[in-house]
């Protein structure tokens, strides 16, 4: 039956997914709920006392407007970090985790092609990212009144979450590809971690160093937050870049995966 691997994997991983949903939503809400505390006279002066370089490096922008605050916190630092960590987990589990546990043998001995398994596992990751983001967005919308974040508007909140899902999907595809090529979960995790940290700083720091300026253009974080979806809504081109990059990564991983030996 087409899609069996997809539905079965979603079912098998439903507890882990629940964990990610709770964790990411809780962190997002806690951050957001702090806005009324920050949004008092004096904070602006305090924030301005930091050197602009540091502010940029950490991804902090304007802290005072609702969109600026949420864009610097939930959607600025911890949100993306958690989403990339989740992506490492999901990408690593997709092929490498299954292979290391010895279960991939059984699946592939059935009438299902390696490409089909790979693509279905990628779709699992896409669904999981969208679920986490849907719950996070719903929760943020629920508390946006009391948290004085109502100015942002539902559409922009959804836009920001969609971009964050796109970011997670790219890194998930990277982890999946690394795991599909090597069959090792540790390699998948390490690849996502290294590329994640490097491209995070490339996006935030690149512009302040002349000869590194070009690195921003290859950073997924640039296509995630460069267009400030929280203030400007969905940036279709940026989402398209994230989507295409994901597909390219999955295809590259698949080309090797289809040819290599499956580890015992």
């Amino acid at each position: 039956m087409p899609g069996s691997v997809l539905t079965k994997t979603l079912r098998d991983q439903r507890r882990a997914l629940l964990g990610w949903v709770i964790g990411i939503t809780a962190v997002g809400i806690l951050y957001a709920a702090f806005y009324p505390v920050i949004n008092v006279p004096g904070t602006a002066d305090f924030m301005e006392s930091f050197p602009p370089g540091i502010m940029e490096a950490m991804g902090f922008a304007d802290f005072m407007s609702p969109a600026g605050y949420l864009g610097s916190t939930t959607y600025g630092l911890l949100g993306p970090v958690l989403v990339v960590v989740m992506a490492a987990w999901a990408g690593g589990a997709a092929i490498a985790g299954e292979e290391e546990s010895g279960r991939l043998d059984l699946t592939l001995a059935h009438p299902v092609s390696r490409w089909s398994v790979l693509v279905q596992r990628f779709l699992v990751l896409v669904v999981q990212m969208l679920v986490v983001m849907a719950v996070l967005t719903g929760a943020l919308l629920l508390i946006s009144g009391p948290a004085e974040l109502g100015d942002i508007g539902a559409a922009n909140m959804v836009a920001a979450s969609l971009h964050l899902a796109g970011l997670g999907i790219v890194f998930g595809a990277l982890g999946l590809a690394a795991g599909a090529v090597t069959g090792r979960r540790s390699v998948a995790y390490a690849t996502v971690a290294i590329v994640g940290v490097a491209t995070f700083f490339a996006n935030n720091l690149g512009p302040s160093v002349d000869w590194l300026a070009w690195t921003r253009d290859i950073s997924p974080f640039h296509y995630y937050s460069g267009g400030t979806p929280l203030a400007n809504g969905i940036q279709p081109l940026d989402l398209l870049v994230l989507g295409l990059a994901s597909v390219v990564l999955v295809v590259l991983g698949g080309l090797v995966f289809d040819r290599r030996d499956i580890a015992v």
Partner: protein
């Protein structure tokens, strides 16, 4: 008729280590083929090549007339496979896993799963993680047999099964053959396969060292015989019985060894009153080891 499994000069290297070193294998339609060899001889490597999980370094392999890789998904639809290390973990029940694996094959009736589980004494409602090794192996057996494939490839199928379940498993294997299915099963102990295998191939260091017809082997094999008669019998009454040797008569008791058919001995003994007649199951293992040692030396 074309072979169901055929490999020619199959070689698989893992880096510098040799997994297979020119393995030739031919399995005929409708037979039970025992693939025998010590651990590390290349049994699992061969099986994983047949399933297209790994690709050979050189040589050719074909199952049901097609190369494993070219045959792809449609070819694997016609196979049943039991991995050597059947790992299926997690909080799902055995039934849930079997339904999923059945769905990958386009659906298997629940009744069929239930019937197999019943015969193996497997409780389908149990969560996989709380199953013992033997019970997990039963899940593996069920998933290999449930869709009645043309060819069953079973890697060490009896490992972990207790003796009663082993017998029921061998019944399933025989029934599969009687239904026209071909069974290819690996083992490192002959006694596990000699009861049902039609032919046995011995692999060592990645090469086939001997292929034997089990019935022929049995015919050549030597059994110990012991007959208790109602009254003392003369020893020379048994001197001319073909195949009988080492005859010792001790009053009403005869001990001897027998090669080949038992019929002449039975007829000779029938002239007297027979109290009991015992005959050992031939120790094929021993016979094989002798053979096997010689072939392996030749190959060197």
């Amino acid at each position: 008729m074309t072979d169901v499994i055929r490999t020619e000069a199959l070689v698989k290297r893992y880096g510098r280590r040799r997994g297979l070193d020119g393995l030739d294998l031919a399995v005929s339609p409708g037979e039970i083929y025992g693939f025998l060899g010590p651990n590390g001889a290349g049994k699992t490597t061969t099986i994983r090549i047949l399933l297209d999980l790994i690709r050979p370094t050189s040589g050719s392999a074909a199952i049901l007339g097609e190369a494993p890789r070219r045959g792809g998904t449609p070819l694997r639809r016609r196979l049943g496979y039991l991995p050597g290390d059947f790992t299926a973990l997690g909080g799902q029940s055995a039934r849930e896993l079997l339904r999923h694996l059945g769905a990958l094959r386009g659906g298997v009736p629940d009744a069929r799963i239930e019937a197999l589980a019943d015969r193996l004494d497997l409780d389908l409602g149990t969560r996989l993680r709380s199953l013992s090794k033997g019970n997990r192996q039963k899940v593996g057996v069920v998933q290999a047999f449930m869709h009645q494939p043309e060819l069953l490839i079973l890697d060490e199928p009896t490992s972990g099964l207790d003796p009663i379940i082993q017998q029921r498993f061998l019944e399933l294997v025989r029934e599969a053959r009687d239904a026209g299915q071909t069974v290819f099963m690996s083992s490192h102990v002959l006694s596990e396969v000699q009861q049902c295998a039609d032919r046995v191939g011995i692999v060592r260091d990645g090469r086939m060292v001997a292929v034997e017809d089990v019935a022929a082997l049995r015919a050549r094999s030597v059994r110990r015989v012991e007959i208790a008669f109602d009254e003392p019998v003369p020893a020379d009454a048994f001197a001319a019985v073909p195949g009988l040797a080492d005859v010792r008569v001790d009053g009403a008791r005869l001990r001897a060894t027998l090669t080949g058919r038992a019929d002449p001995l039975v007829k000779a003994a029938a002239r007297y009153g027979v109290e009991t007649l015992t005959m050992d199951e031939p120790d094929l293992e021993e016979l094989f080891l002798v053979h096997y040692g010689r072939e392996a030396d030749d190959a060197r």
